[in-house]
């Protein structure tokens, strides 16, 4: 059974300025479904505005969906009250992108990390809680003596470890990681990725890993869901997507990856189509797609059996 499943999620936001009276809605997420198995890492990849963080927030129960259903460990939590959700939140926890903004600067690390215990493990005494905090911090590679210090006394990488400790302390089965390493230097990024790998092996955690960085994703993910304009446009195992992707958007993303060595330099050819922009009807990728045909304007954008949403896919190499 999957530890997290979402089915046909939709979400729209009102667009325009805060003073606009028109009821115009902008679709942020359209018909997104996926499952996450125990011990698995699913990466959601896409550019800013693709809806990946919105999906994550809905999966966490932090944002109500317009329609669709969300299951935690097989239980439909879509319509649970905040109170009922709260008692189940230890199942799924979140690690945020910005380790500088996501810790309360006035709270000692021990209090920040231990906060979840007061809610989900309220039977623990203060000294038991302290012990648990110390254990979790050292699990995340931090000295337990850091408990009585404040966030500003830690580096970016250490703060991200603190963020992970805070999520882990309530013993979740799923971690939603929203760009957890993109604010970090490469050397620190490697440390955090190693930590995440080790924790997953030791605890059988499942990761929903939101990222725009394909090198990082290739390193950590078992499966990928590529999002564009609120839809999943391609999904598959990491191996399959990286070796023979079918959707032109995935291709464009892969082609845009930075190279490893100057010998791979090519005469940079700019792909046909516009820089940016999304079609309002039909396949949203049309304005940027080098393979776009007239029938794309009537395409419903649904994923096919092979896991991609495209009428004129790239040929597998």
């Amino acid at each position: 059974m999957s530890v997290l499943a979402i089915q046909h999620l939709h979400k729209s936001f009102s667009s325009g300025s805060m003073f606009a009276v028109s009821g115009e809605k902008k679709k942020a997420v359209s018909d997104v479904s996926f499952e996450l198995a125990a011990g698995e890492t699913l990466a959601i990849v896409g550019e800013s505005g693709s809806g990946k963080s919105t999906v994550a927030r809905m999966a966490m129960g932090l944002l109500p969906a317009d329609s669709g259903r969300i299951f935690w460990d097989g239980e439909d939590i879509t319509h649970l009250s905040q109170h009922a959700l709260r008692s189940r939140r230890h199942h799924i926890q979140m690690v945020f992108q910005d380790p500088f903004a996501s810790l309360n600067p006035r709270m000692k690390i021990g209090e920040s990390v231990g906060e979840g215990l007061r809610i989900h493990f309220s039977h623990l005494s203060a000294s038991q809680r302290r012990e648990r905090v110390a254990e979790t911090l050292s699990l995340c590679g931090l000295d337990a003596s850091g408990m009585d210090r404040y966030p500003h006394q830690f580096s970016g990488g250490q703060r991200q470890r603190i963020g992970i400790a805070r999520a882990l302390i309530v013993e979740p089965r799923v971690l939603v990681l929203d760009e957890p390493v993109s604010a970090l230097d490469v050397s620190v990024q490697a440390q955090i990725l190693n930590l995440l790998n080790r924790l997953q092996q030791d605890k059988g955690l499942s990761y929903l890993f939101i990222s725009h960085d394909l090198s990082v994703v290739r390193h950590i993910a078992d499966r990928l869901a590529v999002m564009f304009a609120g839809r999943v446009v391609e999904t598959g195992t990491s191996e399959a997507v990286f070796s023979h992707c079918r959707h032109p958007y995935t291709r464009a993303l892969l082609d845009a990856r930075p190279i490893d060595h100057p010998s791979q330099r090519q005469n940079i050819h700019l792909p046909a189509g516009a820089d940016e922009g999304v079609a309002a009807t039909g396949c949203p990728f049309q304005p940027r797609c080098p393979f776009s045909q007239p029938d794309c304007a009537a395409f419903d954008g649904a994923l096919n059996q092979a896991g991609f949403a495209c009428l004129h896919p790239c040929q597998p190499a």
């Binding site: 550019e47 800013s48 580096s155 970016g156 230097d185 490469v186 050397s187 620190v188 990024q189 490697a190 440390q191 990725l193 190693n194 790998n197 725009h212 960085d213 394909l214 090198s215 990082v216 290739r218 390193h219 950590i220 990491s238 191996e239 990286f242 464009a252 993303l253 082609d255 845009a256 990856r257 930075p258 190279i259 490893d260 060595h261 100057p262 010998s263 791979q264 330099r265 940079i268 700019l270 820089d275 940016e276």
Partner: protein, 322 residues
Amino acid sequence: MIEVSALSLSVSVQGRRVEAVSGVSLTLKEGRVLGLVGESGCGKSLTAQAMLRLGEYQGVERTAGDIRLDGISLFDMDDEAMRRIRGSRLAMVFQEPMTALNPVFTIGSQLIEVIRLHLKLDKRQAKERATTLLQAVGMQQAEQLLSQYPDALSGGMRQRVLIAMAMAADPDYIIADEPTTALDVSVQKRIIALLLNLQKQRNLGLLLVTHDFGLVAEMCDDVAVMYAGQVVEAGSVHEIFDHPAHPYTRALMSCRPGLSADSGELTVIAGQVPQPGRWPSGCRFAERCPLADAACEQPVAADAWRQQTHVARCVHAGEVVR
């Protein structure tokens, strides 16, 4: 040619002067792309900003060394002379396209302001030039764009506007500080292509400040790697990628998650970057370096190891270079 020689800069940390850049030397030539690479806090941005003498407004002080533009020291110039040089000889492209444009003025008025500051053009001519510049950076419907405000533009479009602005007075050198970091990957590639095309067409000297070796591999002719306020290795892009000589460069390159499918452990660099003010007198990387020994406790010269144009600030580099 811009020559940075033995430049040291200090910043103010809680009321104390602390050295943040120590004895950095670089040469930026016309027609070349020089990458200044390092992790946050290594001093790469401070060095780049010093080349326009921008840091002075934020309490950065030069404590030693010099920066010469075609042989003339920037520090001998008065504010007026410096103002003329910024934009017309060397210009800057900043990292954050979202904050580098003023939200209450149109694209046109911001662009025309820069043009008229440097070139003796009337309003109509300046507007024409603004349109041409926007076309040169790949913007369609340039004329309409002039009357738009920055919030109507995406990140990639704003970065193009900023590049157009940097090009406004036809500078000889561009300093680009992480010009693509804030952008989506697909847009990044286009901005890289744009910068490289402009650089080639106009024979610009381009200084690229970045933390990203991928970007260096893509764009640079020459590379300088900084660590803890010093240049620790410098050479041509092929020298650096084929035979990295400094243990820090080697470590930094190998801890990137590769593009190959390998989910094993990534190499990490033990310990942390020493903070400004707590730099050891010897090699600054020694406490994290697997090769460190007693010899590393003495100050190490920037060219302690040298092979043709390739230099490394390491007494053990000869043992590791293949």
